[in-house]
């Protein structure tokens, strides 16, 4: 990570259209390291499209993306990942029938080779998985257990662990607590605090204003493919966010 860059991620004038529908009209925003940056907006505001442009799933029609001040262009999610950007989708991206360690190492399996034959190095992966999960304040029975048997909070923890366990410095989270109970939400929020303290930039998409105001340092409001406003969380409140999201307030930039 280059310490000089002010923003971990910055997007400038991003446009993306699907046929005649402009999903992103002219979006510019940024996220600082060690902060939670929230993106709020109604359904169809363009939050998911924006995230997918940053994580390499979509390619923006126009505009620039900067990672630590360096201009980048992603043709695939792997390229985004290789720049230290990890995404925890709402669906989590876990395979229920695989063990926790297999999920943590999915498509990054450790192998040891005999000539052209490469075999899985299961011991190394299990051991490293245990270490990765030890950092979490979430009870996980064993890295050998299948994800199917885990609760929603445990699954979220595994998904976040996978996203952060590879030296990533930007983690995008799409509605991380939407499907969780009160207690599990608290655990996941504690986890987000911990990531923040490690200097990771977190891009958080959430519909829960209380959560956004509780967790985020910076908030961007999107509406109909545009950024309506960007402000420090301490300078705003739920009423203003609602007004910006619904269009009752014209926005401030």
């Amino acid at each position: 990570m280059t310490a000089a860059a002010e923003y971990s991620v910055e997007v400038r004038n991003i446009r993306k259209a699907f046929g005649s529908v402009d999903a992103l009209r002219d979006v510019s925003l940024y996220a600082r390291p060690g902060e939670v940056t929230a993106i709020v907006g109604d359904n169809g505001a363009g939050k998911s499209t924006l995230i997918k442009c940053i994580s390499g799933v979509y390619k923006a029609d126009d505009g620039d993306i900067f990672i630590n001040g360096e201009p980048v262009s992603f043709a695939s999610p792997e390229e985004s990942r290789s720049h230290g950007i990890e995404t925890v989708y709402q669906t989590l991206g876990l395979v229920e029938d695989l063990a926790i360690w297999q999920n943590l190492f999915l498509n990054r399996e450790a192998v040891k080779g005999i000539g052209p034959f490469k075999f899985l190095d299961k011991n190394t992966m299990r051991q490293r998985s245990t270490e990765m999960l030890e950092n979490l304040d979430v009870y996980i029975p064993s890295v050998k257990s299948r994800v199917r048997g885990l609760s929603g909070g445990q699954r979220q923890a595994v998904a976040i662990c996978r996203a952060t366990g590879w030296g990533s410095h930007v983690v995008i989270m799409d509605e991380p607590t939407a499907a969780l109970g009160v207690k599990e939400t608290a655990k996941v929020e504690a986890l987000i605090h911990r990531l923040k303290s490690q200097g990771i930039a977190i891009l958080l998409i959430s519909h829960n204003f209380d959560q956004v105001l509780r967790l985020a340092e910076h908030i961007w409001v999107m509406r109909q493919g545009n950024v309506m406003a960007g402000m420090r969380a301490k300078d705003t409140n739920g009423d203003e966010l609602v007004a910006l999201i619904t269009g009752a307030s014209a926005g401030r930039k």
Partner: protein
Amino acid sequence: MKSNETTSNSSTSVEEFDASFLVKFRTRLKDPYFWADWMVVFAFLLVVIIFGAIAPTKFLTMYNLNNILIASAIPAILVIGQTFVVATAGIDLSVSSVMTFGAVTFGLAFTNGWSVLFACLFGTIAGALCGIVNGVIISKWKINDFIVTLGMLSIASGFALVLSHGSPRQVINESLSKLAIGAVGELPYLMIIALVLATIAHFALFNTRFGTHVFATGGNEDSARSMGISTVRIKIAVYTISGVLAGFAATLAVSRIGSAEPAANTALLLNSVAAVVLGGVSLFGGRGTIFGPIMATILLQSLSNGLTVVGVASYYQYISIGSVVIISAMLVRTSK
């Protein structure tokens, strides 16, 4: 492989035999996956006990065991391919006719003066081509696997008939007939080949990245793709494996019959799907073993062999095997 694991488990538990072991054992028994994995072993024991009791002098002989193993070899090779396909939540209904197509191409090459080895290679490549076509259409064009492989079932049998003009070709070769009847001790060559392939398949599934990606593709395709796994490539690969194995099994089939038959063997298709279900491979993908389906293949052959030995007309065998398949699928389903 499984029996080794259990013995090593029980040997360690001798030292630490306490209540926790019993608790563990009880939770294992309640785990539906435990039953999915082990049902086939219990069913096999049941078949052996029943037919052993009815006809001990006919069923429980080395000669008969040898028969069962020889009869199991070809379906076992087909079921390996089917297991890879079903593990990705797909299905290959074309296996038996691809094998027939492979047998006809083998016969064509052999009677035109090719050596057994090259004729075998030719048949295998013919099978591989069918598999690649299946895989590409299913994964790239996203056409339903059931429809595509059902279509291939017809196409491959059609080509087999066209190429052979509808009549079998005699294949007389000394090394081929040795292959068909030879054995190491009581283990027939054919079964040894099947077991070698099964061992390779087991390692590919459980000890390589490819295997993990096969299960990931079947378990949750969206997740696999979001982690950067090319599920298209994985699917093409598994259908190709199925085609290759069917094409290769054709050589063994020719060696057994002594001729390349263009007639499709639909019993082998039922067998491969049945053995996969019986062997505890989830039809929804993401779960399975090689051991289970191989064991299930031997079980199904034992069942039909047992019924023959005790004198049940072969018509009834279709009914009994079909019933076993449906019941086993119900057992796995209800326990979930």
